[in-house]
Assembly symmetry: C2
Homo-oligomer: 186 residues x 2
DNA sequence: AAATATATAGACCAATCGGTCTTTAAACCG
DNA sequence: CGGTTTAAAGACCGATTGGTCTATATATTT
């Protein structure tokens, strides 16, 4: 039932939680009503599985892009390039399931909120680690503290996902990302 | 019917568009079903009015905080202090109607999308203007370009509104905002 | 091939959705 | 006071919501 979760994830991703109706999920998962409820319990449980899947994918990407073995600056650049891809054109307009869920559910839904907050901490920690390694390699501008640079960068990236919903013009944002990085990297 | 729009805005702000049901709006506006439909047409039209109101409030705040007459650095600091207030504790958990709408509706609802994109441009322009004045006053770090600094800062702020939904710890973010400003301001 | 487990299609459920309409009460105005 | 406008209350509408259940068909297994 792994493929079903992935297909459901796609629907929630495109439409959001409330705007996704059961028929949408049935069409996407190619499951009958009965099978879907037997397998996943209810809409909310399936959503949490989809969210977990989305998070796992994102963490997996960071695992390779920001791997400790890799040159940290290269890693950060690859990491940011991925974000630029994901926020350009149609990809950008589709948005980000994590940001959408944070805004739509995190206030009311504790389970969803915990997952969002958890992912945020993980992402910040990985970026901070990369900055930290860059600093010991002497590649950071004087006075830049890895942990606060990481918070800035990560926060900026979440903002990008918001902006990309209405202004998916890649070139400008490529330049903006570079400009931000130039404030940190020597 | 101005107060009704404001009350409706409060509901949409707290719950989002899809999760707001007619009874919620009736309770908040203290209007009967008939009166509400006579005055505003339908739920979507009322939502757009509420969104316009939210945007007008935000622009009005910027008008005073980032007024051309004011010292630009002071203005930016006041502007950022306002954001920190709005993202701390319960305020933060409530989120931002603009960011929520961007994620929930901007993809499907062209009217909402236009408003979001428009506000984004306005905000970026005002911040860029403040940075520009700061630069001519010699208060910017060398190599910092006002327009790209503005894009970075604005984008960072949208990201703050996302993060604040689950991690509304003021002190850390106060420090992070200062750290970002330190990259731009001399 | 027969028996059993599994998943399908889709009827069905109460509740709620956004929206309309009629009836009744309250203001307002001459 | 009497007549008119205005708004409230709430019945009512078809459509849709998330969720259950039964009957049928399809595999699977022995």
């Amino acid at each position: 039932m792994d493929a079903a979760v992935e297909r459901a994830m796609g629907v929630f991703w495109s439409r959001g939680y409330h705007a996704t109706a059961l028929p949408d999920l049935l069409r996407a998962t190619r499951l009958s009503r009965g099978s879907l409820y037997a397998a996943f319990g209810d809409k909310h449980s399936l959503f949490l599985l989809a969210l977990d899947r989305y998070i796992a994918d994102a963490v997996a990407r960071m695992d390779v892009e920001l791997a400790p073995a890799r040159e940290p600056i290269d890693g950060l650049r690859a990491f940011l390039a991925g974000y630029l891809d994901r926020m350009s054109g149609a990809n950008g307009r589709r948005g980000c399931l994590l940001v959408a869920t944070a805004m739509e559910l995190a206030g009311q839904d504790a389970e969803a909120g915990r997952r969002i907050a958890g992912f945020f901490k993980v992402m910040e920690a990985r970026v901070a680690d990369a900055f930290s390694r860059a600093k010991t390699a002497g590649k950071l501008v004087d006075g830049v503290e890895p942990s606060s640079a990481a918070r800035i960068l990560v926060c900026f990236l979440w903002g990008l996902r918001v902006v990309a919903k209405t202004a998916p013009t890649r070139i400008t944002w490529q330049a903006t990302v570079n400009a931000l990085l130039d404030r940190f990297i020597r």
